[in-house]
Amino acid sequence: MSDRRVFRTAIVPGPPRPDTFGKIRAWWGGWPIGQLAFLAALAFLGWLFVSNVLGTMARVGILPGFGFLSSSANFEIGESAIAFRAGDTYLRAITAGLINTLKVSLLGCVLATILGVVIGVAGLSRNLLLSGLVRWFIEITRNTPLLLQLFFWMALAKALPAPRQAPALFDAIFLTNRGVFIPSLSLEGAPFGILAVFALAGALGGALLLALRLSGRLTRGTGIAAVVLPIAAILILLAFSGARPVAQVPALAGFNIRGGLNLSPEFAALLTGLVVKFSALIAEIVRAGIQSVGAGQWEAARALGLHDGQIIRLVVLPQALRVITPLTTSSYLDLTKDSSLAVAIGFPDLVSIINTTANTTGQSMEALIILIGAFLTINLALSALMNVYNNRVALRGSSR
């Protein structure tokens, strides 16, 4: 108790805490006027460019601003997730393009990851033939332009046989010159609310898992319960609502193929191109990640009596993921950006619709601002998401 007094006497006034202005000044650093002059010069240059653009637009008689978004777009969109007809607004057209971009990017990331991991692991095989094959696959895809590969896939998609002659894989997948037909799963007789229930149940299950994990009560039992309960809820609800999931398998009917899900040749070519190119990149990352875990780790884990599956799950993967995650993140970002090459093969993604919009309205500045803004948003969101995951992977490594 009496020790406290000793400390009290030792208090000396420190340097004054910098106020807000002082903090800003410290952040702004030296050479304050010069910096301001530099930034002012840049702003002036920017203003010059913008006023030139506005001047040109005024001369051609185009009103600057985003008002054109609500006027009607007189072009068709080849394929779109939301209904679009010529005459709908530009806003709707651009939204359709954005959805197409998101669709192909998301699917591309997922499929490229799966294929990339498989190829990366195959490349580590001790089998000379397999690892050599993987090596060549990776070198060829890495060292030729993506656009060239897209042209190749597009030519291939166009050269496929007509639906009547098309070979069927497992009687369910048709590769034709009118696109790729795959089996689909849909809900028949389901009111729109069912979809909301799906989303809700999924979110609930996810939240439950997260809560369990954060409170440290995540065990095998509670984990399974958190997954099974929402699924059971959905199934019970479905049984009562009268809706049932219907699997549709495409089949030849007359000159065309009916049923199932039809991927257009452009979409199929773009997706294939992106997946092949980026699976090679991800395979390299996976290989580097796994090789970054030293042989000593394997030996030590074996000495502890773990079997191969356990070693990979408990020892190798947590360490490899620390190398893999940030690199894969930038691959995902590149994939999303490279999906813009769709414009070269005629898939109506965001870029190609923006291009059409700019050409038909003359509002190129506004259109490109939308384009750049959309990609920046997607990129920032994706990297924020992956950062959260990366922090988790990294934290786990450092805390245990």
Binding site: G30, V53, R142, L146, F151, K337, F375
Partner: protein, 351 residues
């Protein structure tokens, strides 16, 4: 090749049939290859047409006669035939300067001077200087176009990138913020978007007195775009230099610029050279996007060659030629990058 055979046979045997799983994988892979390779071989060799014109070619096999007939167009596109030695010389010049840049023996001030001179020489050659008719850039194309745009943009972007990287690590808040915003903006935008800016916005934004043709506009925007990527690589190199270096330089009385120029940057560049080579490979592949805005780079020239009414539709052959060209250049460069990395990591002491 019989010297190593006992060991080779041993390696092959364990590598292919070492364990039961291994044998299974070998058989499965061979099965897969047997599905792919024979049809490919039949297309490329057995059913292929090597000489003749389009009528001699069948749809079953490759038409290599097309390649011999159109190779000049794929390589040089619409450049006037009688002056073809000029773009050919450009390829040689660029190949020479690239080779010199690749050899550590030549690294130094003369090389830095040689780069702008070479680029200027290429520019004059392509433009048809000293001929009666100047050749506008919309007649350029093919391999020299790809290499030229790539070399100019990379060479011009590097100094900008150096300044951006220094700015991003600087203590000056305003400059640093600008650099961060610039780099993130560029890196968040797809290159196609940047090319559209060059196509659609730049002509409106520049004053009328300063009208650039399509290729120049593309070069300007690509330079600004690549600078952001190179800046990030250089920044990684700057971060790897211990602070003691800067402090020691300051203690010796060197100012900021002299510290950077004499102490920090030479060390940083040594670290980032392999990374820059990898970037350069990616950029060379990315120049193919010029096709999107209608510039006849190598890829677009190949596509146009197969759209010739006389030789309609031999896209596969055209693309294959281009793919092989890209592959040879980029594969060679990536091997070089690996060699350099090893050399810099092990030696690193030469100047």
């Amino acid at each position: 090749m019989t010297i190593a055979s006992p060991r080779l046979v041993q390696t092959l045997r364990t590598g292919l049939f070492g364990t039961r799983a291994n044998t299974l994988i070998t058989v499965a892979t061979l099965l897969l290859l047997s599905q792919i390779l024979p049809p490919l071989f039949r297309w490329a060799v057995l059913d292929a047409t090597f000489v003749g014109d389009a009528t001699a070619c069948t749809r079953e096999g490759a038409c290599w006669a097309f390649v011999t007939a159109k190779l000049r167009f794929i390589l040089f596109a619409f450049y006037p035939t009688e002056l073809i030695w000029r773009p050919a010389l450009v390829i040689l010049l660029l190949a020479a300067i690239l080779t010199a840049s690749a050899l550590p023996r030549f690294w130094g001030r003369p090389l830095l001077v040689a780069w702008p001179i070479t680029i200027l020489a290429c520019w004059l050659l392509m433009q048809g200087t000293f001929t009666s008719t100047p050749i506008a850039s919309n007649q350029w194309g093919g391999l020299p176009m790809t290499l030229f745009v790539w070399a100019v943009c990379f060479a011009a972007a590097t100094p900008i990138a150096m300044l951006l990287a220094l700015a991003r690590r600087s203590t000056l808040g305003g400059i640093r913020t600008f650099s961060v915003l610039y780099i993130e903006l560029m890196r968040g935008t797809p290159m196609v978007g940047i090319l559209y800016v060059a196509m659609l916005i730049l002509p409106m934004a520049l004053p009328d007195a300063l009208s650039l043709d399509k290729m120049l506009r593309a070069i300007v925007m690509i330079t600004l775009f690549w600078a952001a990527y190179i800046a990030e690589v250089i920044r990684a190199g700057l971060q790897a230099i211990p602070t003691g270096q800067r402090e020691a330089a300051t203690a010796l009385g060197l100012g900021y610029w002299r510290t950077q120029r004499l102490v920090i940057l030479p060390q940083a560049f040594r670290i980032v050279i392999p990374g820059m080579v990898n970037l350069a490979i990616g950029f060379l592949l990315a120049t193919s996007l010029l096709a999107v805005i209608g510039i006849f780079d190598l890829l677009n020239a190949a596509r146009a060659s197969a759209a010739d009414p006389q030789w309609l539709g031999f896209y596969n052959e055209a693309y294959l030629v281009v793919a092989i060209l890209y592959f040879v250049i980029c594969f060679g460069a990536s091997r070089y990058s690996r060699w350099l990395e090893k050399r810099l990591a092990s030696g690193g002491k030469h100047s």
